[in-house]
């Protein structure tokens, strides 16, 4: 008996699923969401005004979560056939144009007032066509997207209101969508709908008119009590700069490497969202205490020191590994060691608002470090690199740069150098009775190995040695 040929399920009257062309629509939506995130990632370091920079950064994690959710729903309907994850590349062309040609304010308006408005309309339209039982899980994703996009559009923040740039992107996306739908002849793999970096950004943009420290100066030099206004303002402001630098470097790590797995981009997006929130909270503390950040110093030190290295080919996986190693597994891991001292000091001095915020940051640092360790271990394995060796090398290059610029600054003005040396080598202005140690237990929870804890111990940042690093007697 001959087996009958099963009817083509896609040719079923009304289509295979509750909505005609449902899978294609999900994939095209995922592509637009992913492309909007891609543009935002690339532009965050290039946007000078901090409100705009943080507003753009605040779109990234939600957008990436939506893109991943839509992709996953499509993959489910495709019975997990990765090769069937294809899109019409035309749907993202307006965002590619935005990335290449636009100015910072145009990009902020284009992403938030253009792409997000377009996506909100598409998600709303899709939600009305879905079946509440067949598509229950997809509806959860789509309704969550509608909620998030409505929140993004409802505020009075940058890009949320109507603007010519937003209207232009909205209209262009609409035109691309309508011409792209239906015909999949020109479809490409979803991952290939993104484009490579259009530029390199060695120096992040900062607001015009704000002062910048002289090269080689320490970003904040404590010469008075932590209770003094000038010290609080300087400390909080420099923390804003550090959070911005981390945020911007992570954005470029994702943007310059679209070939990374979606899970890696999602992990970076979550980290980025934390840094954006940290910067926003430090700025709120400045405002609450009555400081005008416009009068405070600005810089992008950690970004500039960690963006590129003479040992690494620009744009290479090696460069990416070095960026992530120094930011996530050196600087942020050292924050795990230093934060207990900072928190104790602020509590000791009665600065509860600062101490409470630092407590929140401390919990985030464990994720940032664990995330960085995971990503760098994966990348090192793929590219024949040794994490311990590469961490050692990038540590040397990063701090070698700081040494060079600081030494030149000290030599340029011996009297100034003498004043600063007196401050640095003098007593702590508040006689704080706390010192740091390599926080072995916390680092282990973030997946540091004991050998990696010994590595940081040898660098000598922490005056106290953790007892767990010494073998038990007997």
């Amino acid at each position: 008996m001959t087996e009958a040929v099963a009817p083509d399920r896609a040719a079923r009257p009304g289509g295979r699923w509750s909505t005609p062309g449902l899978v294609d629509e999900l994939l095209d939506l995922a592509a637009v969401e992913r492309a909007a995130v891609h543009v935002a990632m690339g532009w965050v370091p290039k946007v000078p005004e901090l409100d705009d920079k943080l507003a753009l950064a605040a779109t990234i994690e939600d957008g990436m979560v939506r893109a991943v959710g839509l992709r996953q729903q499509a993959l489910t309907l495709l019975e997990r056939d990765d090769e069937a994850l294809t899109v019409d590349p035309a749907v993202v062309v307006p965002l590619r144009r935005l990335d290449v040609a636009a100015a910072p304010d145009v990009v902020v308006d284009g992403v938030i007032g253009g792409a997000h408005r377009f996506l909100l309309a598409r998600h709303r339209a899709l939600s009305t066509r879905l079946d509440p039982l067949y598509d229950a899980r997809l509806l959860t994703v789509v309704r969550s997207a509608i909620d998030a996009l409505e929140r993004s559009m409802s505020g009075a923040g940058p890009g949320a209101g109507p603007s010519p740039s937003g209207d232009e992107v909205l209209a262009a996306l609409g035109r691309s969508w309508s011409t792209a739908s239906g015909d999949r002849a020109s479809a490409v793999a979803l991952d290939e709908a993104l484009w490579g970096p259009v530029d390199r950004v060695p120096v992040p943009a900062r607001p015009s008119g704000r002062p910048r420290p002289e090269a080689g100066a320490r970003a904040h030099l404590r010469s008075m009590s932590r209770l003094e206004h000038d010290d609080i303002a300087g400390e909080l402001n420099d923390n804003v700069m550090a959070e911005l630098s981390a945020l911007e470097l992570l954005c470029r790590c994702s943007y310059e490497h679209p070939e990374l797995p979606w899970s890696s981009h999602l992990a970076l997006a979550r980290h980025i969202a934390d840094e954006e929130r940290h910067a926003a909270i430090f700025r709120r503390l400045l405002v609450e205490r009555g400081y005008d950040e416009g009068e405070l110093l600005q810089h992008g030190a950690n970004y500039e020191f960690a963006y590129e290295f003479p040992e690494c080919e620009p744009g290479s996986a090696h460069e990416l590994v070095w960026r992530l190693l120094i930011l996530c597994t050196v600087l942020e891991a050292l924050a795990i060691d230093k934060l207990p001292v900072e928190i104790a000091s602020r509590d000791w001095l009665g600065q509860s608002d600062i101490a409470r915020f630092l407590d929140y940051i401390s919990t985030d640092e464990l994720f940032h470090t664990e995330n960085g360790l995971r990503l760098t271990r994966q990348l090192c394995e793929q590219h024949g690199l040794h994490p311990m060796l590469e961490r050692e090398r990038v540590h040397g290059r990063f701090f070698g740069r700081q040494y060079a610029v600081r030494a030149a600054y000290l030599q340029a003005d011996p009297e100034r150098a003498a004043r600063e040396i007196e401050i640095l080598e003098g007593r702590d202005p508040d006689d704080m009775p706390f010192t740091s140690r390599t926080e072995v237990d916390l680092r282990r929870r973030a997946s540091f190995t004991d050998e990696e804890c010994e590595q940081v111990e040898r660098w000598g940042y922490n005056p106290r040695r953790h007892p767990a690093l010494d073998p038990a007697p007997g």
Partner: protein, 121 residues
């Protein structure tokens, strides 16, 4: 183990130029190590190459080490220290007058600021 041995020999050559010259002039000194022919060849080639500056760490040994299993953590860390030392880079926190041992280590260490848009080599 022999991959670790290559890394250890390279570390010794970075730390002691006389040992590098000895390997270059008399490869027989490598008989004390458990190396296969390929490993012996890359070590000798490394010993005879003239490298300095940013090229340190880009020679045949590093190419060989990029293949196969990970180095032991202690061996990898020691090699990194020696590469940095040979390149004139710090091997620990910045210390000395005008520096603080925790300087620039994290947001609370407050980095020294680079030249805006200038070279940060």
């Amino acid at each position: 183990m022999s991959k670790d041995a290559v890394a250890i020999i390279y570390t010794k050559m970075l730390d002691d130029d006389r040992y590098r010259e000895l390997v270059a002039d008399d490869p027989g000194v490598l008989d004390a190590w458990d190396l296969d022919d390929e490993e012996r060849a890359v070590v000798v080639e490394e010993a005879t190459a003239e490298v300095s500056g940013f090229a340190i760490g880009r020679g045949p040994v590093m190419g060989y080490l990029s293949k196969g299993p990970l180095l032991s953590p202690g061996v990898a860390s020691s090699l990194g220290v020696s590469l940095n030392h040979a390149s004139g880079l710090p091997t620990g926190s910045l210390k000395g007058p005008g520096f603080a041992s925790g300087a620039g280590c994290c947001p609370w260490g407050h980095p020294a600021v680079p030249n805006l848009g200038g070279s940060v080599q």
